[in-house]
């Protein structure tokens, strides 16, 4: 389904996160970490009046995995009880039941009362470091059955999250950047099924790697040398989350970004997603986006690679 303009209006990250923190039962606050563009926006825009992001989904990752099903059930039931409602996603707009196969379960996608500007989506930490493909964790609520998706490098996104003053955790921007870098070691052909701001040709890789560049620009805007601290954090996260594979992941972390910087066509898509997402308030030029990528390579990725020389 194409996203209409009205569904992607600029929203204030702090306002949305405050709504989430208020709606989620307080006993679940320490089991939920907000990831995605809202988390980035909250991290960089919270003190800036008028700075907003253009997004539609508030991705909330439940952790640890062992507690995800219980927390997911409690949060879903609590929100629905308080007049949150299902997002109308066609066949996915209704809960499943005990007969529904795991991979056919609808995700928990709930709209807050009185608005359709954004929705909350629940995800679960992956089962293990080897679990990269999308899997579904069933949760049974009094409203029906749902699935919590887990995939790829979500376990990186919730590495050492920051506790916000709202009580819930916010993912570190540099960890979300790393998760996206690892997710796309090359520019894949898959496009965004729902499109991006009325464009249906945007590749998922370009959208996600564009987000990496957006985070980079926002980080630099806050501190010239912010990127210099990333490599150590990344290395720490990779060692802890992927004890068997971290060396290989270090070497592939920059491949997708390098491929993006080498392709004007893909860069244009990345720029489009930035200008219609995290950088909507101050869209950069293509040249400025490329410079952000080069700075990320020099300050963080090459720094990371130097710490773990390729054994080839």
């Amino acid at each position: 389904m194409a996203i209409s303009k009205s569904q992607t209006e600029l929203i204030s990250p702090r306002d949305v996160l405050a709504d989430i923190a208020k709606a989620v039962p307080s006993e679940c606050h320490d089991k939920i970490v907000v990831i995605g563009s809202l988390a980035v926006g909250y991290h960089y825009f919270q003190d800036q009046v008028g700075m907003a992001v253009r997004t539609k989904d508030a991705d909330c990752l439940l952790f640890p995995r062992a507690a995800a099903a219980k927390a997911g059930t409690e949060i879903t039931e609590s929100l629905l009880k308080n007049n949150w409602h299902f997002k109308n996603d066609g066949i996915w707009g209704h809960p499943g039941n005990s007969e529904t196969p795991d991979d056919k379960l609808p995700a928990v996608r709930l709209l807050p009362p009185g608005t359709d500007e954004w929705f909350l989506e629940l995800l679960a930490e992956p089962e293990s470091s080897m679990a990269r493909v999308q899997r579904w964790m069933r949760i049974e609520t009094r409203y029906g059955h749902f699935g919590l998706p887990s995939f790829g490098f979500l376990s990186i996104a919730n590495f050492k999250p920051i506790r916000s003053d709202l009580g819930i955790y916010i993912a570190r921007p540099e960890m979300m950047a790393l998760a996206n870098l690892l997710e796309h070691p090359a520019i894949g052909p898959d496009t965004m099924s729902a499109g991006v701001s009325n464009r249906l040709d945007i590749k998922r890789s370009n959208k996600d790697l564009g987000r990496v560049l957006a985070i980079t620009r926002l980080a630099i805007g806050q501190d010239d040398d912010a990127l210099l601290t990333w490599a150590d954090f990344w290395l720490d996260a990779l060692r802890q989350r992927f004890p068997c594979e971290w060396r290989g992941l270090v070497q592939q972390a920059g491949n997708g970004l390098r491929a993006l910087l080498a392709s004007e066509q893909d860069l244009e898509q990345a720029l489009f997603t930035c200008a219609n997402g995290l950088l909507a308030s101050r869209p950069p030029s293509l040249k400025q986006l490329i410079i952000a990528g080069k700075r990320l390579l020099v300050d963080a990725i090459e720094n990371l690679e130097r710490q773990v020389p390729n054994s080839d």
Binding site: D224, D225, R258, A262, S263, S285, Q288, I291, V298
Partner: protein, 352 residues
């Protein structure tokens, strides 16, 4: 090995990985088939050793016929494994830019190659040789300003990198301001205002300078750039300009730092400028003197750089170089003030 203007230059390692996607071999001047075959052979070996990387033989100045070069390339590829052959390319530089026949090459590779050309050609052929007589003057002035005493002709020859005749001519031209001592050494009697004025008047033509502007709209602070420079630990780059002058004269009347002046020691007029990319990829060289430069490189072409190393390892340019940097930045008032400071200090040290 000599380049086309006959100056000795030190050859970099024959083939080196450049950036992340490219293996590069540079031939400055290609004048024989043997050089071409040698270049292709070493490139092919490097390509074989770097799986997935494209290999480029970059020819800066081709004196051989283009068709002949292409023919040699095809014959050479014929004896290579196809997996290697398809990654071996020849590209040319024309007037300091990549020759247009680069269709189909990845954008990132083209950027790397342009970068390599900027470093190789611009430094190899565009840094003017310095005026040795001016260097003799500056060396004597440096001795006077810092109170370091006399210099023999031999010492001047070695420090400047010139012969006896050049030193003798330079001393003759400023004879009015020079003491000749019995041990064949010389020193200044006073600040040679007239000679300094002449040197200043022609500085824009005789000095070698590169201007860099920030293209990011998020310029890095000078503190950040200096920290990065410190971490790079380069033994041929020193801080000059306002920051350097302030080190000598803490009362220099200027608010903030209008730009970062770095002095690069390039006695062979061939220097590695990769550090600029490490300093900040947002810095791009410009020829436009009307754009406010973020960083300015001043090339020191005499043999002795006169840099001074601080306890923290940072190199600082000598006071006269800093003074010249201030004039170049058109900070006239501050430059005159700093000049007065140096002269007063020198008179106090030297007693004249």
């Amino acid at each position: 090995m000599k380049d086309e203007i006959g100056n000795n230059w030190q050859q970099a390692p024959l083939v080196k990985p450049l950036g992340n996607n490219v293996v590069l071999e540079i031939i400055k001047t290609l004048s024989s088939a043997r050089d071409l075959r040698d270049g292709l052979a070493s490139l092919a070996m490097a390509v074989a050793a770097h799986a997935g990387k494209q290999g480029y033989l970059l020819i800066l100045n081709a004196k051989l016929n283009g068709a002949f070069i292409q023919d040699e390339l095809e014959r050479f590829k014929g004896v290579l494994r196809s997996e290697i052959a398809k990654r071996v390319h020849i590209v040319f530089a024309v007037n300091g830019c990549l020759a247009p026949a680069t269709d189909g090459l990845p954008l990132a590779d083209l950027e790397e190659l342009s970068h390599a050309i900027a470093n190789s050609i611009k430094l190899g052929t565009q840094i003017l040789p310095s005026n040795k007589k001016d260097e003799v003057l500056l060396m004597l002035m440096h001795q006077w300003v810092t109170g370091k005493g006399n210099l023999t002709f031999k010492s001047l020859e070695e420090r400047v990198g010139c012969n006896y005749r050049t030193v003798a001519h330079a001393i003759d031209e400023m004879a009015h301001a020079v003491y000749r001592h019995s041990d064949r050494s010389v020193s200044l009697k006073y600040f040679p205002q007239q000679d300094w004025g002449r040197l200043q008047a022609v500085a824009n033509r005789t000095r070698s300078v590169m201007l860099y502007v920030d293209e990011s709209d998020q310029p890095r602070s000078y503190d950040s750039l200096l920290q990065r420079l410190r971490r790079l630990n380069l033994n041929y780059v020193a801080i000059g300009g306002v920051l350097g002058a302030r080190r000598f004269d803490g009362k220099l009347d200027i608010v903030g730092t209008p730009r970062l002046d770095l002095c690069v020691h390039a006695p062979d007029r061939c220097v590695d400028l990769e550090f600029m990319h490490a300093l900040d990829p947002a810095l791009e060289r410009t020829q436009d003197t009307h754009r406010p430069a973020r960083v300015v490189l001043h090339f020191i072409r005499r043999k002795e750089a006169l840099f001074e190393q601080a306890p923290d390892g940072v190199l600082w340019a000598d006071p006269l170089e800093c003074l010249l940097n201030l004039y170049h930045a058109r900070l006239e008032q501050q430059a005159r003030s700093f000049q007065e400071f140096l002269m007063a200090q020198a008179r106090e040290i030297n007693g004249h």
